[in-house]
């Protein structure tokens, strides 16, 4: 079943007619549930989107530039061109997502009007308002947000995110930060669950205040022993083994940014990452997937300790 923890279906984004309701928490979070055990691929063109669909991606995420190119180009990164998003929507049958800037209420409105299937309020783009994320309950279109701690994930869910992606460092081809943050979120959930199971409600309240979230959402998360929404891993995935490792840490699926289309064997690599994500629990199948790619053709990775721009920190304090 889908957890409805923190539900605010009385908001503007929920449209209720006589017998029909749209934009409910169940259909928003339910959409993310249908992506589970799948790979969402960053794309910038119809050609890339078609390769992603043929490889078995569950969805594509449209950007103006891949994260590694955003990093290289500098300047302000904004949402993708409406025409490119539309062309891609008209070319593939799988769901199409697109990114807007953190806090940019009207980029999100535009994406919703274009009718993308999900909006990613993303730190890969230059934040428009780092202290106020979008109040996502006001949209009928569901949102996904990044997080690198349990507190951040729950704050985003309370703002209406229907899905979380645990952040790594985008555009680096280095999976280390994604691994660190998944383990951190897992540890924090285990700690919250231990407090919950001990019956010490006062301590759980103290933790909710530390996290700057409501007691109720923390209680439900601790009770479930997992986030109340689908949680994918993202940031720095470059190989099938990277994807399989993140799945083994309990993620519900994978976002791949630059790792596929900045490699020299994109078509094979796209299929191989999908296979490794699906069959992560069967090491012989992961080996087969890894054999489909050539390390000489992987994107060149970056040392994440020496970066001038750490995208993961954007909007984290809010």
């Amino acid at each position: 079943m889908i957890s409805l923890a923190g539900d605010r279906s009385d908001s503007l984004g929920t449209i209720r007619d006589e017998n029909v309701s749209k934009g409910t928490t169940k259909v928003k979070r339910g959409f993310a549930h249908m992506l589970k055990n799948g790979v969402v691929m960053d794309v910038t063109s119809v050609e890339q989107a078609t390769i992603a669909e043929e490889a078995g991606a569950v969805s594509v995420m449209v950007l103006d530039k891949l994260p590694s190119d955003v990093r290289a180009a500098g300047g302000v990164a904004r949402t993708a061109s409406a025409n490119i998003i539309r062309e891609i929507m008209d070319s593939v049958t799988i769901p199409v997502m697109a990114k807007c800037r953190i806090g940019h209420v009207y980029e999100a409105r535009v994406l919703s009007e274009i009718n993308v299937d999900m909006i990613d309020e993303s730190e890969v783009l230059t934040p428009a308002d780092e202290s106020h994320h979008i109040w996502k309950w006001d949209y009928t279109t569901p949102f996904v947000n990044g997080a690198r701690s349990l507190a951040e994930a729950l704050r985003r869910i309370e703002e209406g995110a229907a899905m979380i992606r645990t952040k790594g460092e985008p555009g680096t081809g280095n999976v280390a930060e994604a691994i660190t943050h998944i383990k951190k979120v897992n540890d924090e959930i285990r700690q919250a669950k231990a407090i919950h199971d001990s019956g010490d409600r006062q301590d759980l309240m103290r933790l909710a205040r530390d996290f700057r979230v409501s007691y109720d959402i923390l209680h439900e998360t601790a009770h479930l022993g997992r986030l109340p929404v689908v949680n994918f891993a993202a940031g720095g995935v470059a190989t099938p083994a990277d994807a399989a490792y993140l799945m083994s840490l309990g993620c519900d699926g994978i976002f791949v940014g630059s790792g596929i289309f900045k490699s020299d064997d994109a078509r094979n690599r796209a299929r191989a990452v999908v296979l490794a994500t699906t069959f992560w629990d069967k090491p012989e199948r992961v080996r087969e997937a890894q054999e489909m790619v050539d390390e000489q053709q992987s994107m060149l990775g970056l040392d994440t300790t020496k970066l001038e721009l750490r995208m993961q920190e954007r909007g984290s304090d809010a």
Binding site: S21, M34, S91, D117, V274, T278
Partner: protein, 202 residues
């Protein structure tokens, strides 16, 4: 007797269907188990099969890769009670088009003699909840959760229409196989899962 329910666990909302099946077995007081099915060999252990919601192109491609699709097709044709939900309904269909893009050319099991339109109600923003009924199964007031749902546009005389919503066919049955556009595993009601398990008992 003991019943084993298998849920195709390639991609999609597998654990929601497993949870609904567990609950249905409990409510029916039947001893049994529910297993995820990822490989052809696992299919032989199963009495009842569920193909969950998810992305039909992904599930189809990856099921095809391991010959699971062919083995599954044989068992369904051999009479195994089977439920296909949303993407699962698409995989069971004989003929599939996309509302915007036309022919999809995706791998299909072709065990239901139906024509089907993907994304029939529009994109995610138009996903919805409503109340519907499946009168031929004796199920009324059932919460229908439709997520980028397909609908059935034509059926052969062998196919029984179970439910119609907004002049569109959203649930069908042919012999041992049931398909729904909506997600019974998200409805909070186990009525359809119980009906499916009941088919294995007879």
């Amino acid at each position: 007797m003991s019943i084993t329910v298998g849920v195709l666990s390639i991609q999609g909302d597998v654990c929601e269907n497993m949870a609904a099946s567990h609950q249905a077995l409990d409510e029916m007081n039947i001893s049994g188990n529910v297993i995820p099915v990822k490989t052809p060999s696992a299919i032989s252990d199963v009495d009842v099969m569920i193909i969950p919601g998810g992305e039909s192109t992904t599930i189809g491609l990856l099921t095809l890769a391991g010959d699971t699709l062919a083995t599954l097709g044989e068992r369904i044709r051999g009479g195994m009670p089977t439920l296909g939900v949303c993407a699962g309904l698409i995989l069971l269909a004989g003929d599939v088009t996309d509302r915007m893009l036309g022919g999809t050319g995706q791998p299909l099991l072709k065990v239901l003699d139906i024509k089907l339109e993907r994304n029939s109600f529009g994109r995610q923003r138009d996903s919805f909840e409503t109340i519907l009924s499946m009168k031929p199964l004796g199920i009324g007031d059932f919460p229908g959760v439709f997520i980028r749902a397909p609908s059935v546009t034509a059926v052969s005389p062998d196919v029984e229409v179970l439910s119609v919503y907004d002049n569109r066919i959203v649930a069908v049955k042919q012999n041992n196989t049931i398909g729904t556009s909506f997600h019974p595993e998200l409805s909070g009601s186990t009525e359809l899962h119980r009906h499916l398990i009941g088919m294995a008992r007879r």
